[in-house]
Symmetry: C2
Subunit: 419 residues, 2 copies
């Protein structure tokens, strides 16, 4: 189908979805989950076509992201069932008052309308995004990467079959058929029809959306996250936190990329850091972390000399840029200049320094004595996540169901006019 027709269909389906009760939406979600299980064979067959076409053309990491297995399909269905259990965000009364004129004023959470999601090669984003949009009362338009074309279409077909079983229109969940660049641009510029665009993927995709979108867009994901080890830190705790933030899953946005160390303890701390991240890992036969060192750090331990750009790079790899700073003030200054305002941590036993850090680091999530890896909708108690916003307007940090709503004032009167 042509992209403009798909967008039109989505707009037409808004009203139907906005009027569904929580029970109707939950039944639809359950039917979608069942249909995915029932159509597992077809989904696997379509995924095999994608895999065959992609082999040799994309990296092994990307191939693994593209691959579906029986258990991954089960995971998709279970993920949809998890969304059933979350509270319905639509219709929440956010404030309620009787005005001086006797008007009954309510501020009510309502769906945004049509949400477009442009993503890359992971087919499970398809079911994940569709379920969150449906539960929050929004019609979705999905545009997956071309490598996952057959897989994501098969998943959408199953979900649409689930909707139809519940007597609901298939147009509550839409997927773009045209995988050319024009279709992405058409979505980005469907002003007045697409109420929110969420890019999910690498820095290039996000930049492309931000530069070309005339529809409202949420900047997600890029994380140049910093851990600052204060002079007053419990150094053993700092080592555990850095090891976790850097190496537990280096390819994700809440992984640490930069380590700042207070000058007062640098000579004592940096050799322990190198032992943990480089020497011990080599000895254990696991991949060591490459340390990219500022001049002062390089005078204390061995490593790669850092280039200036190393402090502005999201490595997403076993690489850590390390710098010695004077104190918490210089650390905050460095973060203001170099971070992407995603997640930053301080390790310290000084309450004063912790408070200074929390008050002055202007990032979505600021940690005191904990790993940056916790920035996540599930960990924050939102139950789910549509992405992590690194902007300040509307939603900041993990976006759950509530962040996929807007609000409307409904005012009941008895004929009041303004004096």
């Amino acid at each position: 189908m042509k992209t403009c027709d798909i967008i039109q269909n989505a707009v037409g389906a808004k009203k139907c979805l906005a009027q569904l009760s929580s029970e109707q939406k939950n039944n639809a979600l359950l039917a979608m989950a069942c249909a995915i299980e029932e159509q597992a064979e077809q989904i696997l067959a379509e995924n095999a076509r994608d895999m065959d076409a992609a082999k040799g053309k994309i990296s092994d990491v990307k191939l693994d992201r593209l691959l579906l297995t029986r258990s991954r399909i089960q995971g998709m269905a279970d993920g949809i069932r998890d969304v059933v259990l979350l509270p319905d965000p639509v219709g929440r009364i956010l404030t309620e008052r009787t005005t001086a004129d006797g008007l009954e004023l309510k501020k009510i959470a309502v769906p945004l309308g049509v949400i477009a999601i442009i993503y890359e090669s992971r087919p499970n984003v398809t079911s994940d995004a569709a379920a969150l949009c449906l539960k929050s009362g929004n019609v979705c338009i999905l545009r997956g990467g071309k490598e996952a074309y057959c897989s994501s279409h098969a998943i959408v077909k199953a979900m649409q079959d689930g909707l139809k079983k519940e007597g609901l229109p298939a147009e509550l969940i839409n997927i773009i058929d045209d995988i050319g660049h024009e279709s992405a641009l058409e979505l980005m510029q469907a002003k007045g029809m697409v109420d929110l665009l969420i890019p999910r993927g690498g820095a290039g995709l996000i930049r492309n959306c931000l530069e070309n979108a005339s529809v409202p867009c949420i900047e997600t994901g890029t994380g140049i996250c910093t851990v600052y080890v204060d002079a007053d830190a419990d150094q053993e705790m700092a080592l555990r936190i850095i090891e976790n933030a850097k190496t537990q899953r280096p390819s994700v946005c809440n992984a640490e990329e930069i380590c700042l160390v207070s000058r007062e303890i640098a000579k004592a701390f940096l050799p322990k850091l190198k032992k943990l991240l480089v020497d011990d890992r080599k000895a254990a036969g696991i991949v060591p972390v490459e340390l990219r060192l500022s001049e002062e750090a390089a005078a204390i331990i061995d490593g790669t000399p850092a280039s200036p750009s190393d402090f502005d790079t999201e490595f997403l790899d076993y690489i850590l840029a390390v710098k010695v700073v004077a104190d918490v003030r210089e650390a905050v200054e460095h973060i203001a200049q170099h971070s992407t305002h995603h997640s930053e941590a301080i390790v310290t036993c000084s309450e004063e320094n912790a408070n200074y850090f929390a008050a002055n680091v202007d990032s979505a999530a600021v940690y005191i004595n904990a790993s940056t890896r916790f920035t996540d909708g599930g960990m924050f108690g939102l139950g789910c996540e549509m992405g992590i916003s690194t902007q300040k307007l509307h939603a900041r940090g993990p976006m759950g169901l509530e962040e996929l709503n807007t609000y409307r004032y409904v005012i009941k009167g008895t004929g009041q006019v303004r004096k």
Copy 2:
């Protein structure tokens, strides 16, 4: 001063302002109000220069907006003192929980940072916007219209003198000196430095900002507001509401521009509407409302035949587009096609139709049996207003102090790492 230097100064002042206590901010506001009173003579003299230069060049309405009097200056000082009385939005704990991992998580309201306001000829926007930004912890960069150059600079000078008296840097309140188009463009594109741009003025200014801004921008103001008179309406109430919504202050964004009337009562209602808005006003010697009528309405009463564009125009004048519709469903449909999603009203005694209207009209404010003129920060109990957002992201409807904040998650741990 060069615009780029002013922007740089504003960014540099963010940290100072974010750390001020409520008391310090309130003392600063009181000092600003006093300084405006003390420098009233100088402000009036500078305003006289603006008025002399503008005479013959701008309309009488605009000249009146530009004019300052002793009482208008007093109004500015009083307006600042009103802001002192409002609660400080910064530091509110929006949610608080202990996570499964034992992390103490707080979602805390924090200032956006630097807010730029581009406005037109009313000099009092200068003090109004500066006071709201300061109270909400934001450094402001003001760019007024060129006609008000001397007036707004004199007002800013007074406010900065007030800040200095309190030992605070003048750079908490900034005004652009260069009145060329380039300076507006520079503000719109100061990505990473300006955290929010708010245009306050006519449709042209707002469109210009939306089209050119790469910084986050809030769409404000344009209001093509509708009143729908249902078959079940109390017709006398409908007449009072329409008279108020259309004629009490036709030049503002929450005034009515479109009247939809149910076919069932059109023959009875429209003659009464014409008598009230046209004949009675002519007889009383006050300006009559020009009715622009759909074909069906024109078959019932006299008036100007409506062109299609009349239902997509913000007249801001004594003009009302009138159309006969089948029922509440067609009214909702018309609003979806033609309104700017600002404020719409239904007049009806039918609870069913009222609920249908409230559930399906996707505008910032939806009224049942009340005038659209109530959409206003003061009327809604926000205490003040920085503008009325017609977009769905971040803030919708009147923007008060809370809407000038974002939030940050602060997470305290005891060394937790992610499993």
